[in-house]
Amino acid sequence: MDCVHCGLPAPDGVRFCCHGCEAVWGALRGLGLPALPAFAPQPEEALLDDAASLARFTRREPDGTLEVELLIEGMRCAACAWLAGQAMLRVRGVREASVTFATRRARVRWDPATRLAAIVAAIRSVGYRAWPYAPGRIAMVEARERRTALRRLWVAGLGMMQVMMYAVPTYIAGEGEITADIESLMRWAGLLLTLPVVLYSAAPFFRGAARELSHARPGMDLPVALGILIAFGASAWATVAGHGAVYFDSVTMFVFLLLGGRYLELIARSRAGAALQHLARVEAASAERLSGPSRHDTEIVPLARLVPGDRVLVRTGESVPADGELEGPASEVNEAWLSGESRALERRPGESLTGGSVNAGRAFVMRVTRVGVDTAASSIRRLMERALEERPPWVAASERAGGIFVLAVLACAAAGAAAWWPSDPGRAVWIAVSILVVTCPCALALATPVTLVAASGALARRHFIVTRGGAIERLAAATDIVFDKTGTLTQGRPRVLSVESLSGCRPEDARSLAAALARASSHPLDRAIADCSDVPVRDAASHRNVPGEGVEAEVAGRRIRLGRAAFVAGLHGRRVPPHVASDATRVWLGDEAGWIATFRLGDAVRPEARQALEALRASGLRLHLLSGDGAGPVAAVAAQLGIALATAEATPQEKIEYVRALQQRGARVAMVGDGVNDAPVLAQADVSVAMGGGADLAQLRADAVLLSDDLADLARAGAIARRARSIVRQNLAWALGYNAIVIPVALAGWVTPLAAGLAMASSSLLVVANALRVSR
């Protein structure tokens, strides 16, 4: 059936080829006709206004208006965002509507008298579709965290600047230049402004310290909280009593700089999380389900109501709502979100589709096989979240060291104060404060996790998904890297390696002829032949498919067969030419007059493999090839890629033995495989990487997944992991050196609390900034 508006082919039972046509057609009709039946809220949209879904998606603002976050599908550019925003603002009762193009989200505030369905319908009237969106767990937590952190930082910053104004005159004024009552006034002002900084901005440190105490595990918050508390308490006492030194300026500055470091850390984490949010965005919010076997009715259902077995219509430009199989017709999809591959990939009936891919070809019908948490997109998200939640050994070790360190610092502070108390009690207090403040356990407790999080963000941007907490450090430590062959170094599917002409015709003509026959078949070998032809394909008629044998068709009046030698020979009765070697998989092409050509097929090495392996070898890794395949193909691949250590015909048990033998010789083994068939050997290796392209992600047993299937990304991932390791080491070295110098100096009483705060905070900023370098 053709599209009512533009006349292009539309799927059976659907009046439009795309939403654009539907919108324009509706708008045009709207000019001439009184009613716009197409844009009355659809039943599914009307459901949005029931109490339960309003409660689930909307927030009630203090002024009685409702606010909702909408996910808008189909936006292509910033102008689309503007258009969608305008459409919403024209609905009566909408107070505010802002659309963010980058996240495809809109925030709308409206009077409760207006129905949400009308707003959603208004967006549909301009050609986009909108669904209420319940933000993911991580995104929501992150947004709240960032707001709170920003507020605390600002309160501390404001307090710091203002308190410093009261402190500086007393520092620079000579004896007797400031009258006692002015000085007392400035002290009270300082106390008043330090109060919110200590009570509000520094609250996370006190909470952290309380948590550390209740778990009996001293961490970096404990000395910080003690330092703030002692310095503030002593200063407040001095203010009230009217004599003694005040350190309000030191307290506020210390809190401000420390919060600055934490804020940087938060940004690093959210950048790493951006990769996660990117995956969250690829999922559609709704799907167009075929409600009967007749293909004549579709209904829009929210994604949550889709079940396996449903048949779904995916229009041009829309995203595939769930994992499934293509029913027809053949189309093209773009899987850039998953693999980074920007070209659209051809998909034929029966082939699998990944939810989140975008339909770049014709509208098609698909059968849903997996929904919700089972889909590839959710699996990846879950794997990444798990990796972020797991506590990698590096972090655990540095936290243990941090705990011991903190105890030592507390002991030092107590000892320093005790030593100075007899001679000068006033000085003893601020020496204790200086020691508590100046020591910097952050390089131990803070910088390592920040480095790892930044590294996993950088890796995710290169389509290398870390699924286990310790994977980065173990990848950095690898000395040997063992590759599987099929699907890892090679593409895992047959390709035409060469064409030999047997009748004197040009190989290109043979290709074109063979492609004409192969197009109708879904056999992998025929697919390879159909794909290898870049010349115009000839027209073929009256196709006949003989399963297991080959294809027969008529091209320009000639009967032609493509397939096994015996099948093709049945047409002309000649013997197989003796000079053709039988070394590989072959497909034959012939007509009634005799043989035309033969195609040699095999598994081709990935085009980028050579360069990527070169890079891995240059970084000092020993390369191994370990395959269950026959000796011939394995040796060919090893020779082509320059791998000296190749083992063929290995059983799964032998593969495990091989890896174990390497490990007994002291090697740290990274294993790269397809992730499903070689799960046991992946488990034996120190760190395992699975090629994500073919694997069922939910079943995956690897420490990391290479979603792009691009070995160059593997080489880059190795480099990032090693950089992360060297940055962690730099930070540890810095922390040791810094503390070894400042603690004796502070014990001697040469460090004022102000200088201590400055030194400690700049040390932690330095360490965090260094950690962030990894993502560049």
Binding site: A78, A79, A81, W82, Q86, T100, F101, A102, R107, A143, R146, R147, L150, R151, W154, V155, L158, G159, Q162, M165, Y166, T179, I182, L185, M186, A189, L192, L193, P196
Partner: protein
């Protein structure tokens, strides 16, 4: 120097006002999207009538 008796309390009030203004700005979501507004100036904002 008597003016300090006025100016110092005033500075506290001022700090409070600035803090409150910033607080509202954060709650209003002004710092949530730091990239979008830079792009918004190039989009056409004439309201079609």
């Amino acid at each position: 120097m008597d003016i300090l008796y006025l100016l110092i309390p005033l500075s506290i009030v001022l700090a409070g006002v600035i803090g409150a203004a910033f607080w509202m700005a954060v709650d209003g979501g002004q710092f949530d999207d730091l990239d979008g507004p830079a792009v918004r100036v190039v989009t056409d904002d004439d309201v079609p009538r």
